[in-house]
């Protein structure tokens, strides 16, 4: 059985996540962006890494969460936690509705479909400028505080907020993958033909996984809105969908920590490379990707675990 016990390395990882507060206090805004991206990547891992659903349009759910949180803050109230929950529900509803189509397809058709949904939503948001602000983005609101903690200039509150939400969602994901349902998802990924032959309702499983992933992506989007007090069309962009896929593959799909690890490496690399070379930083990202895929086809975590097995 998949081992559900907490490993020492996991404790180290989460303790290390606290280091930015003391070691790099000037980078807490970046750290909060990383935590948000990590959550987004984690949500993709549930469907891609565990259930085998390839998506090139996962930003749809991130974006719906971001806009939901933004609209609530702008027109109704600025208390963020309720906004977070509603954003997750809105994204989850969209996920549930689209899942009925998504689960009928696999492979290339799935990539095209998710890409298509993503583009549809982006253009819808662009043209509904009265609601979303269109290309100018949704502005003119400010989320002042969460649970009484003011969002400060350095991003201390922002990072704490994002990290706690990430941690809670991570615990939930960990629960899910070590449950019977998580085992069923791995079964679908491993052999979709066999699943009906053991009596498994694969499509119902996939719909549920897709919906859960959408909720989590929506929460990540809402976090971005709350910590930046603005929503731009970029939250729905193809670039965001592609980036999160790259991040997950970089870190290692189907390993739970692949998303967070990939997010750290990708975002720090982007930050550093764009400082060195503002115009050409994608060159270095490209080089990193080629190197990882060539030498570590299962991502960084996949490479590490293969290395550990070899040494044993």
């Amino acid at each position: 059985m998949a081992n559900a016990n907490v490993k020492p390395l996991e404790v180290v990882f989460w303790l290390a996540a606290l280091l930015p507060f003391v070691v790099t206090p000037n980078y807490l805004s970046l750290a909060s962006q990383i935590a948000i991206t990590a959550l987004f990547a984690l949500s993709l891992d549930l469907i891609l890494g565990y259930a085998g659903i390839v998506s090139l349009g996962h930003a749809a759910f991130f974006g719906v969460g971001a806009y939901t949180a933004g609209l609530i803050a702008k027109h109704y109230w600025v208390e963020p936690l309720s906004g977070l929950v509603l954003a997750g529900l809105a994204a989850g509803l969209l996920g549930y509705l689209t899942s009925h189509i998504i689960v009928r397809f696999r492979h290339l058709a799935l990539i095209m479909l998710t890409l298509g949904f993503g583009l549809l939503l982006l253009e819808a948001a662009n043209s509904a400028s009265a609601l979303t602000g269109g290309a100018d983005g949704l502005q003119g609101f400010r989320v002042p505080a969460v649970l009484g903690f003011k969002f400060d200039l350095y991003g201390t509150t922002a990072y704490a907020y994002a990290l706690i939400v990430l941690f809670l969602c991570f615990l939930a994901s960990r629960r899910i993958i070590h449950s019977p349902f998580g085992l069923a998802l791995r079964g679908i990924r491993e052999n979709a033909t066999r699943m009906p032959a053991i009596g498994a309702p694969s499509r119902a499983h996939l719909r549920k996984a897709y919906t859960i992933a959408a909720v989590m992506a929506g929460i990540a989007g809402a976090l971005l809105t709350h910590t930046t007090s603005t929503v731009s069309l970029e939250v729905l962009s193809f670039g965001r969908s592609a980036d999160v896929l790259v991040i997950l593959i970089l870190g290692g799909a189907g390993r739970l920590y692949g998303g967070p690890l990939g997010a750290i490496i990708y975002m720090v690399a982007r930050d550093q490379f764009s400082g060195l070379n503002p115009q050409y930083w994608y060159f270095w990202i490209g080089l990193l990707l080629v190197a990882v895929v060539m030498f570590l086809p299962n991502g960084i975590l996949g490479g590490l675990s293969a290395f550990r097995k070899k040494r044993q």
Binding site: M1, A2, A4, R175, I176, H178, S179, P180, F181, G182, L183, A184, R186, G187, E190, N191, T193, R194, M195, P196, A197, I198, G199, A200, P201, S202, A204, H205, K208, I212
Partner: protein
């Protein structure tokens, strides 16, 4: 227990099942034999719902299941194995069988409780592995198991659904002849309440283990009967010796060992 009534299926102009009928009373061991391309696997696909028949009926324990999805048929007690290993390469043997047990008991939708809380199901999976002599390496990944063990795991997965009718599509496919006896011994040891239909090319095995034999040729059931009937039937001899010529077949019933 299982009735197949006048089932027809065409792929374009190719007739793969023509007016096929089968009656499997409870507890019998049926063999389905016939040359390659006779439509034996297609028939299993039709019975299990992986293919939809153009006409005809499938009845399981008195219930018409013709319109049901494959997974719904499994839940009603109709399980199958595959000629080509159709397993979960990156799950362990125990995980695979436990998954089938959890699906059967309706726990696989549960996403808030850890697997550790399902001890009874995992224990049952372990005892299924034991019953097929697979208990040595429950925690090894399926893809790391020996080929013969993978063939047994095929059966273990089907048994975990607690079937009333078990359809075995060449359970010993690819297994060396001396090892296939062991595999069929495991099949012979299954509960006598279980109705079994197996496809097999090795006539020694067929005549040793089958209580009834159906011969399928060109998408039709040519003849069905007891092993003695089949051994004497001139049409069967013609199919195996006259037309194909390449199969060397002995129709003597080997002594039961």
């Amino acid at each position: 227990m299982l009735s197949v009534k006048s089932v027809n299926k065409k792929f374009g102009s190719l007739v793969v099942a023509q007016d096929v009928g089968l009656e499997l009373p409870q507890g019998v061991r049926h063999a389905l034999i016939g040359p390659n391309g006779a439509g034996k696997t297609t028939l299993i696909n039709l019975v299990t719902g992986m293919l939809a028949p153009d006409a005809g009926q499938i009845v399981l324990g008195g219930e018409d299941i013709t319109g049901l999805k494959p997974e719904a048929r499994v839940r009603r007690g109709l399980a199958r194995t595959f000629q080509i290993n159709t397993l979960f390469p990156q799950l362990t043997a125990l995980e695979s069988v436990a998954l089938a047990v959890l699906e059967r008991d309706g726990h696989a939708h549960n996403w808030w409780r850890g697997l550790a809380r399902f001890g009874a199901e995992v224990d049952e999976a372990a005892s299924i592995l034991q019953s097929l002599n697979l208990q040595k390496s429950p925690h090894r990944l399926t893809r790391e198991l020996a080929y013969g063990e993978q063939r047994l795991l095929e059966i273990a997965l089907a048994l975990a659904t607690r079937p009333r009718v078990l359809l075995l599509d060449e359970p010993a496919a690819g297994v060396p002849k001396d090892e296939s006896a062991e595999l069929f011994a495991a099949i012979a040891g299954l509960s006598s309440a279980l109705t079994v239909l197996f496809i097999e090319h090795d006539m020694d095995v067929v005549f040793r283990f089958a209580t009834r034999i159906h011969v399928m040729v060109g998408g039709r059931i040519l003849v069905e009967g007891t092993p003695d009937d089949i051994a004497r039937d001139p049409r069967v001899r013609e199919v195996y010796l006259g037309k194909t010529g390449t199969d060397h077949v002995s129709f003597r019933k080997p002594p039961l060992g």
